[in-house]
Point group: C2
């Protein structure tokens, strides 16, 4: 019997489904019963994480904790959060429930270390960037974090908030050349890996066709970690 995964979801709801689908697609399973048991609280009442970090918005921790306790009460063995920015609040959640959390930045940094990466670029929301969330996790593995410059960071935020979060996903409309320029600059500056560290970014990169071996999707890394932690096996054709 595999361990039960608890997902504190709703941040946003679509990213929650995306993580669930990645867990399903990456699990070695020939029938329903060989998949892992996933418990999900898609708690849309969790206040906006970036607003709480940067502009005095409502604290999301009480609602996140309520979800964690609900999932624990129905038998979750460990918890995961399909929202990069939400991980800034993880230190305040750990210890409040008796089950452990897997961390998306920690798992991602561990993967990059195994791949021998020395410098990684972090593409994320202003909240995630300013919190130093990925920088700290990467530093713990001896990996240097670099970021887009100030103007490019504004473009990354625009890509997330003005396009993907508004449902604008037409390849002809998305700012393809802007993304290519940012990616090119980061690689010239030494990035061996590009962390798409906001759940909206893998979608934008996928749609515009800019998704090479250098890109790392932390949601995929978290899905693989959850499968491993549950005790199940990754499909043999999955490459991280």
């Amino acid at each position: 019997m595999y361990k039960r995964v608890g997902i504190i979801g709703g941040m946003g709801p679509a990213a929650t489904c995306d993580l669930m689908m990645k867990i399903i697609e990456m699990t070695e399973a020939a029938c329903d019963q060989e998949h892992i048991h996933v418990l999900v609280d898609s708690n849309v009442n969790i206040p906006d994480r970036t607003a709480a970090l940067l502009s005095g918005g409502e604290d999301p921790v009480p609602e996140m904790l309520a979800s964690a306790r609900r999932l624990e009460s129905i038998g979750a063995d460990f918890l995961i959060l399909p929202c990069n920015t939400a991980h800034c609040f993880l230190p305040r959640l750990e210890g409040q429930v008796s089950i452990p959390f897997l961390s998306m930045p920690v798992e991602t940094a561990a993967l990059l270390k195994r791949k021998g990466v020395k410098t990684a670029a972090v593409l994320a929301t202003d909240g995630t960037v300013k919190s130093g969330l990925y920088e700290k996790a990467l530093a713990a593995e001896g990996i240097k974090a670099i970021y887009p410059d100030e103007e490019q960071q504004k473009q990354v935020m625009s890509l997330i908030y003005d396009y993907i979060k508004k449902g604008i996903t037409d390849p002809a409309v998305l700012p393809h050349d802007m993304i290519v320029t940012i990616v090119g600059d980061l690689k010239r500056r030494g990035a061996e890996a590009l962390l798409l560290a906001c759940t909206e970014l893998p979608l934008a990169f996928d749609i515009t066709g800019i998704d090479d071996d250098t890109c790392v999707d932390p949601t995929r890394v978290l899905a693989a970690a959850a499968i491993r932690e549950a005790g199940a096996k990754l499909r043999t054709d999955v490459i991280l």
Copy 2:
């Protein structure tokens, strides 16, 4: 505050995500916090429903009931099942928890009646077909049910069990021509609506590009019913 939806999932896991995505996509919401709160128990330990109905397989009711009770215990206001065949067991679940269920066949039959449909083809697992689940719900609304012939029913089962449930979703590998032939035959026999009455089928039809106005996806109908029951609004551009 909207009501909380509880989803008894894992039958299969991908169909569970599909229902969740449909609820998200069909809800009128401008930010995460305007979506509905969804609680999901993707309980892959629920034994195969078709095997229980047709070949003396293990009874799925105890596990389904365990999921229902877990979801009730963490605040679900009503329950839905993203598995058509599982609805054969609904009479044994109702009354065992204090919250109500929405029924996919009942909601679907009501929609078809509103649309003036007189004859509907049911594409489903052997278990759903032999139980007469849809036939009874349709008959209650004065609608005649027709089915694929014996050979084609075997092909439908193969599409469900040998492809989608095994995670084989490559459009180049799915049996496109077989599906086209079955659909054509059913329309020639008078079907005004094709009920894709196994949650794996809309995935298969979508991937292969065979999804016209005649196709009715009971999962979509259930998503709309859940949004209504929760007290939220359907997006104005959603056509059922």
